[in-house]
Amino acid sequence: MDLQTVTDSLVSGVLLGGILALTALGLSIALGVMRLVNLAHGEILVGGAYLGLYLLRWTGLDPVLGLLLIGVLMAVLVYPLHGLLLAPLSGQGLEAPMMTMFGVSIILQNAFLLFFSADTRSIDRPYAATPVHIGSITVPQIYLIGFVISVIVIVLVHLLIARTRFGRELRASAADPGAAAANGVDVRRVHALTFALGAACAAMGGTLIGIAFSFSPTSGASYLLTGFAIVVLGGLGNIFATLVAGVALGLLQSLGGVVFGDGYRELAGLVLFLVVLAIRPQGLLSGRGS
C-alpha cells in the first residue's frame, strides 16, 4: 500500500470523523444535560436518513440543501416524546429512561420495517460517487461536503449553547437543576428542547450517512455505539470536544484500517476508547470530571 493511499485514507478518515461527530453530538448533549442514555439515538439517525430519502423522492429537494429542514422536522417529531415518556421518569435513576428509549428504538425499528421494508437504501446523489482532488489527495466529494456541513452545524450548536439565553439555561440546568429552577428556569422545557435539538443533529448526521453509505431499518445500532465512543472520548456534553473526539476516532479508525486492514477500523476505535476510559474516565479533553 503506497503513501498516496495512506494519506488519502487518513484524510478521508478525518473528514468522516467530522460527520461521525455530528451524529454523536445529540447523544452527547442528551447525556450531558439530561443524563439520558438515549438508546434510540441510532433509530432517530436512521429516521433522519429516511426523511432525506423521501424528501428527495417527493419534492426532488436535494437532502444536503434541505438538511436544516430535515433537522427541524425531526425536532418537531420527537419534541412531544420527552413530555410523554421521559419527563414523568425524572428522578427515577437512569435505567428507567434508558430502557424507555430502548423500547422506543425497537418500536421505531419495526415501524421502519413496516413502512419502508427491510431493503437497504441509499440516497443516490452524484456527489456521493465523484472524487474530489485536493492537491495530490483524492477523497469522495460527499466526505468533504459532509465534513464542512458537520463542522458548521457543530459550530452553530456551540454558539447556541455558548451565546444565547437558551444556552445559558441549558448549561445551568445541566450543572444544577435545582438552582436553575430557583432562578426561574423551566428545567423541564429546557430538557425537552435539548432532546429535540439532539434529535435534529442526529437526523442531519443520518442524512449525510445515508448519502455517503447506505442504511436499513436495523443499521442504527452501530452508529449508536460509535456515538457513545465519541461522546465518552470527548467528555459528556462538551461540544467542541465531541468534534475533536469524532475526528480523532475517524483518524484512528482509518489508521487501524491502513495498518490492520479495514476489518479492524472500528475495533481499533473502540480499543482506543477503552484505553481512554481506563486512563481518563472524565474524557479525553474535558478538564473536569463528572
Partner: protein
C-alpha cells in the same frame, strides 16, 4: 445513580416461586395431533436479514397453498391439508434455535423448512438433527452447510460456493474478455464470504493465471473501504471481485466511484443480487456482475410466471430467492407424499430419494445431503438483472467494460 433497593428474599416466597416455574412448565400445552399435516419454519422476518425472510415466507406459503388447493397430501390413504407454521427468528440464531424447539415440541411439526444464511440455518438444523426431524433448507451455501457436521436430517438446496467462485473466471475465458491479469478481492469475513473470497477466488484465479494483487477481508457490517479501495486503485487491477452483503456492497460501489477507481470488471456477489442494490445505486449499478442460480427466463416449468406471480401478490420486486425457497418447500411436500406417512424417519428417507426437476432445475441430493444449483452470471443493466453467461442461458449480452 439510584436503583430500586432489593428486599432480602424470603425462603417460602422463593420456594413457591421456583415451584411456580415448574408448574408453568408442566402446565404448558402439549397440543394434540390435528387432522392437518403440520410443518414449521423459523425465518428472519425482522432484523438484518428481514429482506430474505420476505421471499422465503412467500416461497414457503405458495408451495403449501398450491398443494392444499390441489387437495392436500395423501397420508395413510387419506388426504390431509398441510399447515405451515412460520415463526420470526429476528435474525438471531438463539431465537432460531428456540423457535425450532418450540415448533417441534409444542406444535409437533413433522418436518421443518430452513431459515437463511449459514448462522441461522445451522442453528435450526442442529435442533432438527437432535430431535430427529427432517429439515429442508434453501439459502445455505453448500460448502458452509457441509462443514458443520455430517447431517442425518438436514437437507440443503442451494449453490456450491466453488461454482459461484469460478463463474466469473469461466465467463471471462468463455467470452474472451480482454483485461490485465490483476485481480483485487474484497470479501466480508462471514461464513460464505470466507469461503468464496478467502479460498475459492484466490485458488481459481491462480488456476486461470490471474494474479491476486490484493485480498482484503472485512467484518460483515463494515461501511468504509477507503483504504482498501485506495490500495486497489494504486494496484491498477482491471478485475475487482467483491463478496459482501447488500449494505457494504452499496458502500463499496459508491466508494469505488468516489475514489475514481474504474475497474473493467466488477463482480459483487451476494450484495448485488437483490433489486434494492440497483434501486439504491441507480446508474452506478449498471455493469455490476453477480452470480445467480435462477432467473425467470430459465426453461423450467413455472419459471416464467413465478416472478410475475410474486410481484402481483406482494407488489414487491421479485428475487431468485423465491425460486429456491419454493423448490425447498416442494421437495419436502413431495417427500411427505412419497413417504405416504407423517413419520419423520420415513419422510427423511423419502427426501433422500428426491430426483425431480423443480422450478430451479433438477434436484438430487448427494451423500452429504446437498443438491447444488447450477450458476449463471447476471449483470445489472438499466435496473434489470440480465443473464449474460453461460451462453445457453443468456438473455442479454455482456456490458464491457464497466461504464
Amino acid at each position: 445513580m439510584q436503583i430500586q433497593r432489593p428486599r432480602p428474599g424470603r425462603l417460602p416466597g422463593y420456594t413457591w416461586a421456583v415451584l411456580l416455574a415448574a408448574a408453568m412448565a408442566a402446565a404448558a400445552p402439549g397440543r394434540a395431533a390435528e387432522p392437518e399435516i403440520l410443518i414449521g419454519a423459523s425465518i428472519p422476518l425482522s432484523g438484518a436479514l428481514a429482506s430474505f425472510g420476505v421471499y422465503e415466507q412467500w416461497g414457503y406459503n405458495t408451495a403449501v397453498n398450491d398443494i392444499n388447493r390441489a387437495g392436500g397430501i395423501i397420508v395413510d390413504g387419506k388426504r390431509h391439508p398441510v399447515r405451515l407454521i412460520i415463526l420470526d427468528d429476528k435474525t438471531d440464531p438463539s431465537v432460531t434455535q428456540s423457535n425450532t424447539e418450540t415448533l417441534i415440541a409444542r406444535e409437533k411439526v413433522v418436518a421443518m423448512l430452513g431459515s437463511c444464511t449459514p448462522a441461522l440455518v445451522n442453528a435450526g438444523a442442529l435442533v432438527a438433527e437432535r430431535r430427529r426431524i427432517p429439515l429442508v433448507t434453501p439459502c445455505a451455501p453448500i460448502r458452509a452447510f457441509k462443514s458443520v457436521r455430517p447431517w442425518k436430517y438436514a437437507w440443503d438446496i442451494f449453490f456450491e460456493e466453488s461454482d459461484l467462485g469460478s463463474a466469473p473466471f469461466r465467463m471471462l475465458a468463455d467470452l474472451g474478455v480482454q483485461t490485465n491479469r490483476k485481480v483485487v478481492i474484497l470479501h466480508d469475513n462471514g461464513p460464505d464470504g470466507q469461503v468464496v473470497g478467502g479460498q475459492i477466488w484466490p485458488e481459481v484465479a491462480r488456476q486461470n493465471r490471474y494474479q491476486v494483487v490484493l485480498n482484503a477481508p472485512f467484518p460483515v457490517d463494515n461501511t468504509q473501504f477507503t483504504s482498501v479501495i485506495g490500495a486497489g486503485k494504486s494496484s491498477g487491477a482491471d478485475i475487482v471481485l467483491v463478496d459482501a452483503s447488500t449494505p457494504p456492497a452499496i458502500s463499496i460501489r459508491k466508494q469505488l466511484a468516489a475514489a475514481g477507481y474504474r475497474p473493467k470488471v466488477l463482480v459483487v456477489e451476494k450484495g448485488a443480487e437483490p433489486q434494492q442494490f440497483a434501486q439504491a445505486l441507480g446508474a452506478l449499478a449498471d455493469g455490476v456482475l453477480v452470480g445467480g442460480y435462477w432467473d425467470p427466463s430459465f426453461p423450467y416449468a413455472g419459471s416464467a410466471d413465478l416472478a410475475r406471480r410474486f410481484e402481483r401478490e406482494t407488489h414487491q420486486t421479485s428475487s431468485q430467492h423465491i425460486a429456491d425457497t419454493l423448490a425447498a418447500a416442494q421437495v419436502l411436500l413431495d417427500a411427505i407424499g412419497a413417504a405416504g406417512s407423517t413419520d419423520p424417519e420415513k419422510i427423511n428417507a423419502a427426501i433422500a430419494r428426491t430426483d425431480k426437476t423443480y422450478v430451479v432445475g433438477p434436484v438430487r441430493f448427494d451423500a452429504l445431503h446437498a443438491a447444488a444449483l447450477p450458476i449463471v452470471v447476471t449483470q445489472w443493466q438499466k435496473g434489470r438483472a440480465v443473464v449474460v453467461w453461460p451462453r445457453n442461458r443468456a438473455n442479454g449480452s455482456l456490458l464491457f467494460p464497466l461504464p
